[in-house]
Symmetry: C2
Subunit: 547 residues, 2 copies
């Protein structure tokens, strides 16, 4: 849908006059080429996942025109990124880097400060710089998607897997920088990166890890993608979920291909939840579970078919539990409450041994049922999970988007220990507050041996002011109530960054003071992504920017 | 041996008069109790591993009196650490924190800047604060040794393993902070930590990870030892191998106990080396090798017996290769060149499958021989490796210390890709330079799937000025020549920190400028461990401190 702009365009950066903005843009165009600096002055189009906008948040939860940039720039090289950063420092214009901008549910490609200049790195910096089959690693630029990396590996016929999130259209580098997750044994994307090239907020260029040592005759260091921390402070972590640098290259480890077997286990009762978590913990800690399995509520078996809510339930409001039950009964999963998707890895004999242990462990829950993909129809969702869990990027998860008209996603993503008791507290808060605000609860739990990501997917109609207001209120309450019990989010939408950062306030906000100290040292002019992850540079602090 | 001090005692901090130093010490004693502030004014004793000094580097490679502190303080609590840091800022006296000070081969407990006040954290802050059997984790203070943690777990009869370095007397927290390694699947100590409590150089107290969110009713956060990065910049890494903070508590993951089987494989020829590395790589990448195995040269089979060099070879200088050969022939390993120590984990069936694959892979090297511990005599070194590789701390590795009289260790620790070609370049440099400077070459290679730590243990007689000089020259040459080929160290002795840091000089020392920016922001007075890892605060820069 294309909506005419109501406000003056383009939206100016804060404290910038139109004249000085125009002058700055002329200068930028001179240096990058006019076609690579595009003003955001046309109607905003939400598009869809594949044709997503880089002008604003396609999944807007405030006014569509609220979180907009003033312009988008398309650098071609690291050197051009450096010159954009220097330009921003000169003109004191905030810049906001994105790799591909498919951060749907967390802000898309919108900048936190309206009127910032978005640096769309991915459009022209999209090269796979290296695939090292011996070292099982690669180096990519920001514009390399999971699909692109996957296809190149297939083309070269290498026995390597990538690890992909549920949707394969994102940026390998961008997702890792935001500490996203996937589902093979290499699912912790940031933990499986090795080496970065980063433009600092002052325009300087840094290589982290072994990349900080020149290779022979000026080559890249031969160990750059082999060893993460190198010598001295290991600083890569501070470039994730931060506004301390612009990552222009990043190395990743690739997994040697192996055998795999996905499966699904169903559990009959809503209150089996805590027991399921208790059974997963030792299996995961002992690495019998080979990857990060997902646990979902049965309502998701309805939504992943791609059929809208209206198909299942014509009424307004939430789908009643007994309606879900009735429909589930006629789906392959049957009348159940929880659905567990796992995958085992290795040779057939080890997979068999593992599956025997897993079946026996879960059999303690009365009424649990075990399915292999071959037990399920060819259009069942499990085949898409099996793909993702063996490193094949898919788009199937997009089917969720059909649940309501004009559907948009907003993720509530707290972490709990993998312990029934803790998980239940967070789940109960979700149940209660989703009910209060009238949203179906879609929890996807990515369960590791010690912690689980509890991802609640709030799906709302972005054409409805009322739904947006309720979705926002639900998020705010969820964050507050979880924090009261000691549970915090690992990631959040731009607009809730301040609130979430504010819950990490031990010792009178020691962490935020520390982050601000680093920010001010690295970005004295406060030009790089102000407000991202709740970190405001000193020129923005105390001026009402926090939400 | 106790040597009378030749210089004035205690050695004063730089730019500090005796009067102001004395006044500062009086103040410190008032606040901590006189018995907890001890001047370093008595004769220096090198002691031995268990009774190691905290006054200087017991394995001195310069004059024993060179790397000395002015005083040692013993805080009892984090609050006392904070007050020491504030005291240091007030008096501009450099402080140097150690956990247990058994960093032998890398500087022991010596401060980089002579006359610094050493904070010996471990003596009184030695509590195991928590062992969570469900979460398989613990929280420790700096003074908890591998032995102490191991014993407490045995006492509580928990089915958990610790991971220990070759020597069990070190600090769990201190070793991890220096990014040390062990040999179970949890061998990367820093990667297996979860959450820190850190006193910053300005005296502020920070909790990293989920610890930055208060738990319910002021308790510790329930997810602190479950999830590493939490929300926002993941900053733990910059507190490792740095001088940006004093770690007062640290969480660690413990491994669920499992079956295990150690073994030894010998290879006949010196030039099998590159092939061995090539065979290890895929085995390690595919996680068929369950831990970080060690590859050693056959000469180490002689030294780990604990018998001195003179027992094997009465002559001066290096033990000739044919003398090693002759003795090896009568040892269990036989006449071979390389010895590989591995361990497999899991149930007996999987261990058998793994071992079959490993034997078949290595059988490609003609003349390789496979041994189980049961094939070897009860006093063979393999039994100590089997202990270490199943989480049991030992002291056996100390036997090396008998090689020469007054033996001291100095480690040269470059990283190479796990690739025969790269490993061979570094090995050849070692062979050539050890020969040039007249030292036996003792390489221990910790080989992972993508990188290997090549640890060369230079053993010298610390009573010989000539050996010290040669050991130093050997180190300097090794660092320079390896760097020329693009290989860098992961860790080094205090005195070579500047040189090693200087090799990570890509883009005109961008990394060091970045580290200095952080240092100046966090430690404006430059009081915390100046010079550690080559990072000098601004008040020390350009004053000739770099070596
Ligand atoms: C149905 C559905 C399923 C999803 N499943 C998953 C999932 O399984 N796992 C998962 O992790 N996410 C998931 N997401 C969320 C999101 O779509 C992905 O994380 C996606 O990969 C992020 O977008 P991107 O890769 O294009 O990153 P970008 O949008 O390019 O980057 C994300 C953010 O990181 C920062 N950033 C990016 N690049 C740089 C850079 N070079 N330098 C500095 N900062 C940078 C920016 O702040 C940017 O906003 C899902 C979303 C939906 C709607
Ligand atoms: C024969 C032999 C075998 C060895 N094998 C191994 C091995 O297998 N693996 C291995 O890793 N090492 C090995 N070492 C090296 C060394 O002995 C160990 O690493 C040892 O654990 C380090 O001493 P420590 O634990 O007492 O740490 P400490 O000496 O207490 O700490 C090491 C350094 O870290 C810093 N530090 C410590 N605590 C803090 C803190 N709380 N806050 C801020 N900074 C801090 C200080 O700079 C300190 O000098 C070996 C040494 C020898 C001689």
């Amino acid at each position: 849908e294309s909506v005419p702009r109501l406000r003056e365009v383009p939206r100016l950066p804060p404290d910038t006059t139109r004249e000085s903005f125009d002058r700055a843009i002329v200068e930028l165009r001179d240096s990058l080429g006019a076609e690579n600096v595009v003003l955001n002055d046309k109607p905003l189009e939400d598009g869809w996942y594949i044709e997503h906008p880089n002008t604003h948040d396609a999944f807007h939860i405030v006014d569509q025109e609220e979180l907009v940039c003033s312009a988008v720039v398309y650098p071609e090289s690291t050197a051009e990124v450096q010159s954009i950063v220097k330009w921003a420092n000169k003109h004191m214009i905030p810049i906001y880097p994105i790799s591909m901008g498919r951060n749907v549910g967390y802000g898309g490609s919108a900048p936190r400060v309206p009127g910032s200049v978005v640096i769309d790195l991915g459009k022209r910096m999209n090269k796979i710089l290296k695939i090292d089959a011996e070292n099982a690693s690669c180096v990519v630029e920001p514009g390399v998607s999971y699909f692109a990396l996957y296809e190149e590996i297939q083309r070269r016929k290498l026995p390597l897997w990538i690890d992909t999130p549920d949707l394969g259209g994102g940026s390998v580098l961008g997702n890792a920088t935001d500490r996203g997750v996937g589902y093979t044994p290499y699912g912790d994307h940031f933990a499986n990166h090795c080496g970065m090239e980063v433009v600092l907020p002052n325009g300087e260029l840094l290589r982290t890890g072994m990349g900080a040592m020149p290779g022979k005759n000026g080559a890249d260091n031969p160990t750059w993608q082999s060893f993460q921390p190198a010598y001295g402070p290991y600083s890569d972590g501070i470039f994730s979920q931060s506004n301390f640098g612009i990552v222009c290259q990043m190395g990743f480890w690739l997994m040697p291909e192996t055998g795999h077997q996905s499966y699904m286990i169903t559990f009959p009762h809503d209150n089996d939840f805590a027991n399921i978590v208790e059974i997963i913990r030792p299996l995961a800690q002992q690495r019998i579970l080979g990857n990060i399995p997902q646990l979902r509520h049965v309502i998701q078996e309805l939504s992943v078919t791609g059929l809208p809510k209206s198909h299942w339930f014509p009424g307004p409001g939430r789908v009643p539990r007994d309606v879900v039950r009735k429909h589930a009964s006629s789906l392959p999963c049957g009348d159940c409450a929880w659905v567990f998707y796992g995958t085992q890895y290795g040779d057939p004999a080890s997979i068999k041994t593992q599956l025997d242990m897993i079946k026996s462990a879960f059999s303690k829950i009365h009424g649990s049922r075990f399915f292999l993909p071959s037990d399920l129809p060819p259009d069942h969702y499990i085949h898409s999970r099996a793909a993702v869990c063996s490193g094949v990027p898919v788009l199937r998860e997009l089917d969720w988007l059909n649940w309501v008209p004009n559907a948009a996603h907003l993720f509530f993503s707290p972490i709990t220990p993998t312990r029934g008791e803790d998980a239940k507290i967070v789940h109960d808060i979700n149940v209660r507050l989703h009910k209060k605000y009238g949203f179906d609860l879609f929890p996807t739990l990515c369960v590791a041996g010690r912690e689980m990501h509890y991802i609640a997917n709030i799906i709302y109609d972005r054409s409805s002011q009322d739904e947006k207001r309720r979705a926002t209120a639900l998020m705010r309450d969820l964050i507050t109530e979880a924090a009261k019990e000691g549970y915090g989010e690992y990631r959040t939408h731009l607009l809730f960054a301040d609130q979430v950062a504010g819950t990490y306030n031990w010792n009178n906000n020691a962490l935020m003071r520390f982050n601000e100290t680093l920010k001010d040292a690295l970005d004295p002019n406060g030009i790089l992504a102000p407000g991202r992850n709740g970190i405001w540079p000193k020129n923005f602090r105390g001026k009402g920017w926090q939400l």
